[in-house]
Subunit: 704 residues, 2 copies
């Protein structure tokens, strides 16, 4: 899991601080290819096979996978990362339980590492130049794993080197940035050693969250091109998206020493935390504190950019009937440290699911209707790099043939409830799967019935349903949905939000995210891992095996109507003042709704009749390709990879179509006839054309 979208907020806050200490309250978003002649063109989902798969997914095997995967730190491109590449290959090439074929693809990508010779450091320097305080260079060795020589010291990847010292230099007068996670935000306020790991799931005082501070995703030097050795590369001086000033993360124990000794006005209430003092804004230390007057904070960052070879591992089960339709299921492999939760909890599930399906395959019991592609991505933590390079390299093939992408990164944040994000067409298949499986725990509820108790919304069509979240850019689904327009989803088990306000599991990206942490505190017994494996397995089989693709495209109608209503309510008046009509957008949404309704009737008719294989294929092509119609590569020229007109990042305050919302927000304070108002009109036209194109794809195929 990767925190790209956090950065705006973090740097924004940083900009307000003259001293360059940041109150880092992260808001995490965080072979042969012919069907066997005997394969029947009407092959459909086999409920017995589905039941068998559900039954064979084994919590204990997931636990053993996790133990192996998280045994050592496996930072992207490290020797242990390569060992895991071989482990995945071995599993997927196993003659008893492997896939039809598996292989690796390697990219030469720009990563960022701290210097081994010159560790990054944060010091307080007295007026005479003496060092009065130094931050911890590594996390305390509480359970043994933190002492592993392969633990990468805490750092902010892609932050430039430099040694600023309380100087006001950069854009808003910030010379360097320190980031920490406050116990108020991560530990429900607890901060004492005996209240935290290994005594509870809390973050120990020395825990430091690593992360990538690159603004975009993909290899920074090869935007839109796969990072093959021969590919054109930008000079790293010309590459964009790196933080402008040195940045370093520290633990809250060290942050306390700095923050609680600051002078100046009190920070706003929202910035206060649980370190036991009133947080001040500085600049400078208070005279009654531990540092003499004139002391300054010195931040030394020695990060280096390095070209490294990062591997993806890919495996495929060839479809029996439609091998040219791909259901993709992936997770990243690389971690910041041991990465038991992130990402190995997902990889442990991935391996168990591929084992169960591989075994059925090798026994000859089953072969899916469509091809299933399994993926283990490299270098996700640095910016979704492996998955992005894959989409760049396989752009045409995926655009032609990919049915859906399933992502399971962290599979279990906590063991209260399912959490799913996705685009509307995948809602129904996730619901179907969730209704079929029993939730872990003492209740006898289904995953669906349990889920709806924790997170729900009122749908105008269905009534009360679980809430499906939208997809940001927090994991490897981002290039699939935003760059390629492939219907995507992300699935996990997560918190009871009434019991914790932790923004994410507390040891996220620290050296405390270990096997024992998961085994003791996150999911003892691994029943939530098993529940995720079953949910994903069911979704995967439904997508790969159903005669009719279980993508309910008409669920987009509800989304479009709600985005439209927001535009009408919150922007209608403003637009009217500028003689911009929402009429064409209303018409386009209506056309979509109508086409979706007619298509729904067509689906029902086909399902009741005895459709021939081509009729089903034609319908399925409409369902598969709908998501593609929302792409416009010219819509957002400043947003790298983002081309989905419904799910591009929204910075405007109105929760409507992102292009419209953002353009209105920029135009709002400009005069009539400004370029910003022209951009509003351009965005509206782009949207109308996309929605009309989407409706056209859903309409009867011989309509003019």
């Amino acid at each position: 899991m990767q925190c790209v979208k956090v950065l705006g907020g973090v740097l924004g806050a940083a900009a307000l601080l003259g001293l360059g200490i940041i109150l880092g309250h992260f808001a995490i978003p965080k072979g042969t290819d012919l069907p066997a002649p005997s394969a029947s063109a009407s092959q459909d989902l086999d409920l017995e096979i589905l039941e068998a798969v559900m039954g064979q997914l084994d919590a204990n095997r997931i636990r053993e996978n996790l133990r192996e995967l998280s045994k050592e730190p496996h930072l992207a491109t490290s020797p242990r990362d390569e060992v895991l590449v071989q482990l995945l290959l071995r599993r997927w090439q196993d003659p008893e339980s492997g896939l039809d074929s598996a292989g690796t693809s390697e990219y030469e990508v720009l990563l960022s590492f701290p210097s081994q010779k010159q560790p990054n450091r944060v010091d307080v320097v007295g007026p005479a130049g003496g060092i009065l305080f130094s931050s911890q260079r590594s996390e305390e060795n509480l359970t043994g794993e933190q002492g592993d020589p392969n633990v990468v010291p805490p750092y902010a990847a892609y932050a430039p080197p430099g040694t600023p010292q309380a100087v006001n230099a950069a854009k808003y007068g910030v010379a360097g940035v320190l980031v920490y996670t406050d116990p108020a935000d991560i530990n429900d306020g607890r901060s004492l050693p005996n209240e935290t790991f290994p005594y509870s799931w809390g973050l120990p005082p020395s825990g430091v969250e690593r992360g990538s501070y690159f603004e975009y995703f993909g290899d920074p030097l090869t935007p839109y091109l796969p990072a093959n050795p021969s590919s054109f590369r930008l000079d790293s001086d010309n590459a964009s998206g790196f933080p402008p000033i040195p940045t370093q993360p520290i633990g809250f124990k060290d942050a306390e020493v700095l923050l609680c000794n600051l002078q100046g006005a009190s920070a706003p209430a929202a910035w206060q935390g649980a370190l036991g003092c009133d947080y001040k804004l500085g600049p400078g230390f208070r005279s009654d504190g531990i540092f003499p007057a004139g002391s300054q904070v010195n931040v030394s960052v020695y990060n280096r950019l390095e070209l490294r070879n990062s591997s993806n591992v890919l495996g495929i089960i060839r479809g029996a009937v439609e091998p040219d339709r791909y259901v993709l299921y992936g997770n990243h492999r690389d971690s910041w440290v041991h990465g038991a939760v992130d990402p190995s909890s997902g990889t442990a599930v991935l391996l168990e699911l591929s084992r169960v399906l591989g075994t059925l395959l090798k026994k000859g019991t089953w072969r899916p209707r469509r091809s299933i592609v399994f993926a283990s991505w490299g270098a996700e933590e640095f910016g979704l790099i492996g998955s992005t390079e894959f989409t760049e390299e396989s752009f045409s093939k995926l655009q032609e043939r990919a049915v859906a992408y399933i992502n399971v990164d962290i599979s279990v944040f906590a063991n209260a409830t399912l959490r799913a994000q996705g685009t509307p067409p995948v809602q129904s298949v996730i619901f179907s799967a969730a209704k079929q499986i029993r939730a872990p725990g003492p209740s006898s509820l289904s995953i669906y019935d349990n889920w709806i108790r924790y997170s729900n919304r009122s749908s105008p069509v269905y009534g009360l349903v679980p809430s499906l979240g939208t997809l940001g850019a927090g994991s490897d689904y981002a290039p699939f949905i935003h760059f390629l327009g492939i219907s995507s989803m992300d699935i996990a088990y997560t918190y009871d939000r009434s019991k914790t306000s932790a923004r994410i599991y507390p040891t996220y990206h620290t050296a405390f995210d270990t096997f024992d942490y998961v085994d003791k505190f996150v999911d003892p017994g691994f029943s939530s891992h098993q529940a995720v494996a079953q949910t994903v397995g069911s979704v995967l089989l439904r997508l790969s095996d159903s005669l009719f693709l279980p993508l309910n495209v008409s669920d987009y109608s509800e989304t479009l109507r709600s985005l439209l209503q927001a535009a009408q309510q919150d922007l209608g008046g403003l637009l009217e003042q500028h003689n911009i009509s929402l009429g064409p957008l209303v018409t386009a949404v209506e056309k979509f709704e109508e086409a979706a309704t007619v298509l729904g009737q067509h689906v029902s008719a086909l399902q009741k009749g005895t459709p021939n294989p081509l009729q089903v294929r034609m319908l399925n092509d409409q369902l598969m390709l709908l998501e593609r119609t929302f792409l416009n590569s010219r819509a957002f020229p400043e947003e790298r990879y983002y081309s989905h007109v419904l799910w591009a990042p929204r910075t405007g305050s109105v929760a409507t179509f992102p292009g419209l919302s953002n353009a209105c927000s920029k135009a709002m304070n400009t005069g009539p006839g400004s370029a910003a108002w022209a951009e509003v009109q351009r965005q509206l036209s782009i949207l109308v054309v996309a929605l009309e194109g989407a409706a056209a794809t859903l309409r009867p195929v011989a309509d003019l």
Copy 2:
């Protein structure tokens, strides 16, 4: 037919002339959507039906179509253009011989017209201000048609208004441009009235070639968006691609008066023509000529930009088996004047072919396997506007489903031989059709055997074959191939080049392009029209009805290899000096060749076996989508719509991949490490990725 790509040359030459007269030697480049349950999934091309269609295509009906179509001038959006819209609709909705459905779509587009109140004029003004000479405002009324009040006076569409008078003002000191066509270039030197129409096919001395001087194609105000009434429009002041200075075409009779009285140095030999004098460069008139010293040329241009409604007419025959696969066949409808040759010779063929197919359809004798879409485009002469707006509006649907686009604009330039342009996958189907049909004329050769005598090349694969030309941007195929990546072709009958060096038929875009002109001089008896109808009919049926799509994608191997060899021979040394290796490109071409070979074996195996319908569909999808894989919307950011990495415009001198050729040509004189050399590397990477993507699309679909 439209002369977009001419302009570079013309304006280039203009730049050399201080006086602003141009030696205009144009180098012309120039319902329900379900298959009936009874439709068999194995439905294939029926040779009896094909023979029947060939036999029913009637030269005399084509002649009568042409008479009606060219009866009056039908400039885009004129009342007569709208009458023809209704004529097409009536024909395509005819209960006995019409299509399944037909309709119009209207766009609001920016056109350019001369002022009716203030005619454009070219005068010679004496030193005292008196007018000594005026160019003809209209063509002489030689056959009656030229006197029609609806003949638009000669003008250069989109040239800005202005009244320059021998002043040096614009970039190269040119204040205005006069364009004429020299008898040396259009009439094989003949220039006397009794040597030209109506006594021969030659251009009369008063004939003036109209044309669009817009640099791009599509509606100038709505690039990349369909020009619907509500669409975002650029201010016409912000629109780009219009000529910068007033421009006016004149006849060679008027040009002679100006040119033969110029003084100054002699123009280069290549600029000399057949007006019977030595062409001088000016500036100023010679003292022993007809104009007194100090006389100047005054050009008055009063063109106006106007938003007009232009219609496309579309009709469809629904496919019986795969209605979601479209074979498109179109021509434009609008002409500059009567447009008997351009475009009505093509529309006359289009109507005859739709009648024959429509009759079979309505009788219940035949329904194609795939859908056939017929199109009559509007406002082509102003810049391929109707077709471009259609591709913008239907982008997703066409990208998903279009098998091929067939264009027949001018169907008969002359009656010597077939001429075809297209991308490599369409070569084989055109050859198959051409082998089946007898060439018009006394010989008993097939069209193919006749063609090979006029235009041939030695193919490393096939030996001597007719030459298939490449597609520029001279007609409505441009947006289909360059913007959408749909395999496209343009078909016509044309000259014996040993008998004329006319760059195009002489009355092109003049008021002399009339029915009688065609009937007497271009194709008496209309047998060449019939031959084109048969060729196109056969290509169309083969594409719409064949079980296996007759797109021979492996013919791209030959093209790629030849482009690669040119790069190696003519750029290899230069690239090596700059440490740029062609190795990855060589590998990519080899991968393509290998994938194409393996696919070819797969096709043979399937054709010999008893493939199921989905196996055939999967293969056909590979064939259909190959062309799409060559698109990269980010490859040529400055070239509007061009995104096909093989067929984008080439300005570099080396006849290789356009992006590479152009980038090398710009980099050649810059130092190592320049941005221009980085662009060479970027273009190479774009090309390699596209070719590898193309190879991936051809490889077995379950290959990783």
